[in-house]
Symmetry: C2
Subunit: 226 residues, 2 copies
DNA sequence: CGAGATTTTGAAACCATTCAAGCGAGGTGG
DNA sequence: CCACCTCGCTTGAATGGTTTCAAAATCTCG
C-alpha cells in the first residue's frame, strides 16, 4: 500500500535520506501531524527515564531540557524557544526531562507517525536527520564552553545567545531563573549573580530588573567570548 | 532506475528509517564499500574545516578526534578504537580534525556512496541515524563529566572507560599521551599526572610504566565516579 | 502588608592552574 | 659504550577563580 507513494518520490530523494551536507532543510516537519498541548509554568512535559514515544516542538513559550546526574545535580542541556525541536532520543527512553519555563504550548508528534512519514517522504527523513545533527552540534558547542571558559565568558556568551534568540537588539527578558542559568553553565547561582553584577559594574550590561537585561556594550561582550 | 530496488524493501523498512527506539542496529555498515587506508602515528586523517566528504571507521589502531578552540586550546572529542565510526558531520565541513594515535588503518566511505546506499536500503539509513544518535549520547555524557566532576573523578572514570573498551580485566596499555588525556578531560597535563600518582599512592591503581595501567581496586574507582 | 522565594553580597576555603624545576627513558654521535 | 640531548612525565610551591557557607536585600504573590 505504501509502494506507490515510495515510487513517486524515489529518484529525487535518493540523496536526501542521509543529507550530511545538504543545504539547511526548509520548513521543518509537517504541521498537520500530532497534537498541540498546553503546559503551565514548571509543568513536566516528559520525565527522565520515561518511554520516548514522541518528538516535540515548541509552538510558544520556552522549554528547558535537563538531566539529573548521579550526584543529584541538575544539568540543563538547553533552553528551547518557539520553532525548536526537543525530545529526540537515540534509545527507547528519554535520557533527559523537559519542563515548561513559563506557560508554553508544544506540538507533540508520535514517533510511529514520524516513522511512517519518513518512510514515505524523503524530506521528512532528511529533516529528522538534520535535527539530530543540529543537536549534536549544539552539544559540542556546550562542551567547548564548559571545557575552559571562565564564569565571565560563560555568562557573557549566554547573554549574547539569549539576545540573539530573542531577536532583541539590546534589551530582552530572561525567561529563566538564576538557578536555571547556573545549571546550564555549570556554575553556582552565586557565581552567576556575582558575574552579572560585575558586568553591570563594568558598564557592559544593565539590569533594570533581575530578569531584564540590556546590552550596553555588545562588542566588549563578544570580545569576552573569544 | 532506483525505483525497483526501493519498491523491494519499502514495506519492511517503513519503521527503520527513523528508528528512534529500534533495537541496536546489528553489524554496522556494509564492509564492501569504500577503501581501507593506512596512517602513521600522528598522521592527519582529516583536518578541521576540510570538506566532509567521507565517513570513517577504525579498522585497527586508535584515532583521536579534536577541535582547536578560538583560544588555541585543543579539545579532544573522543578516542576511537577498532569498529567505531567517526567523522559524522551535520554540515558541509568537518568541525573537528582526526589523527591516528599510533599506526592505524581506517575504512573510508564516500558520503555520496552512503547516500545512494541509504536511499535503497532502509537498514543502512537506520544505521546512519543510529550512529548520529550514538554520537549525541556520548557528547552528553562528556558534558555530564565536564560539568561538575573533580579531577580525580574524571581520571578514574577515564581509566575505567579505557579498561572496558580495551576489554581488559585489570592491566592495559594507554594508547595516548598525558597531554591527550588532559585535553580530553579538560584538565592540565600536570593535574592528570598528579591525579594518577595519587591514585597509585592510594593503592587504587598501579603504574608500572607511564602508559601501562593496572587496576588494583576497581570497586573503589567506580565509587569515585558516582 | 506580610511571608516565602529569589537574588545579591560577603568572607573563607578549596581545588585546579600556572610557573618552575627535576626525573627518566630513548636515541644519536663521538 | 658512554656522554649527551631531547621529549614526555612527574613533582613542588604559589596563585587565582569558583565554590561553599552565611546572611542581607529584593521581589512576588496572596
Amino acid at each position: 500500500m505504501y509502494a506507490q507513494q515510495i515510487v513517486a518520490v524515489a529518484p529525487t530523494t535518493a540523496a536526501a535520506v542521509f543529507p550530511l551536507h545538504a543545504p539547511a532543510v526548509e520548513g521543518g516537519l509537517p504541521m498537520d501531524v500530532g497534537q498541540v498541548m498546553h503546559f503551565a509554568r514548571g509543568a513536566e512535559i516528559f520525565g527522565q527515564g520515561e518511554k520516548a514515544d514522541c518528538l516535540y516542538r515548541v509552538v510558544s513559550g520556552w522549554v528547558r531540557t535537563y538531566r539529573i546526574l548521579r550526584d543529584g545535580r541538575r544539568q540543563i542541556e538547553g533552553f528551547h524557544l518557539a520553532g525548536e525541536y526537543f525530545g529526540i532520543e537515540g534509545g527507547a527512553t528519554h535520557r533527559s526531562a523537559a519542563e515548561a519555563l513559563g506557560a508554553a504550548t508544544v506540538q507533540v508528534v508520535r514517533r510511529s507517525t514520524l516513522n511512517e512519514l519518513a518512510a514515505r517522504r524523503g524530506d521528512v527523513a532528511a529533516t529528522l536527520f538534520h535535527l539530530a545533527m543540529l543537536g549534536l552540534q549544539r552539544s559540542r558547542e556546550h562542551i567547548a564552553m564548559l571545557s575552559h571558559k571562565t564564569a565571565c565568558e560563560r555568562v557573557a556568551g549566554f547573554l549574547l545567545d539569549m539576545a540573539e534568540r530573542a531577536d532583541a537588539a539590546k534589551g530582552f527578558e530572561l525567561p529563566m531563573s538564576r538557578q536555571d542559568i547556573a545549571d546550564y553553565l555549570s556554575l553556582t547561582i552565586e557565581t552567576v549573580s556575582r558575574t552579572l553584577s560585575q558586568l553591570q559594574a563594568d558598564g557592559l550590561i544593565d539590569i533594570p530588573r533581575s530578569r531584564n537585561i540590556v546590552l550596553r556594550d555588545r562588542e566588549a561582550l563578544e570580545d569576552m567570548c573569544e
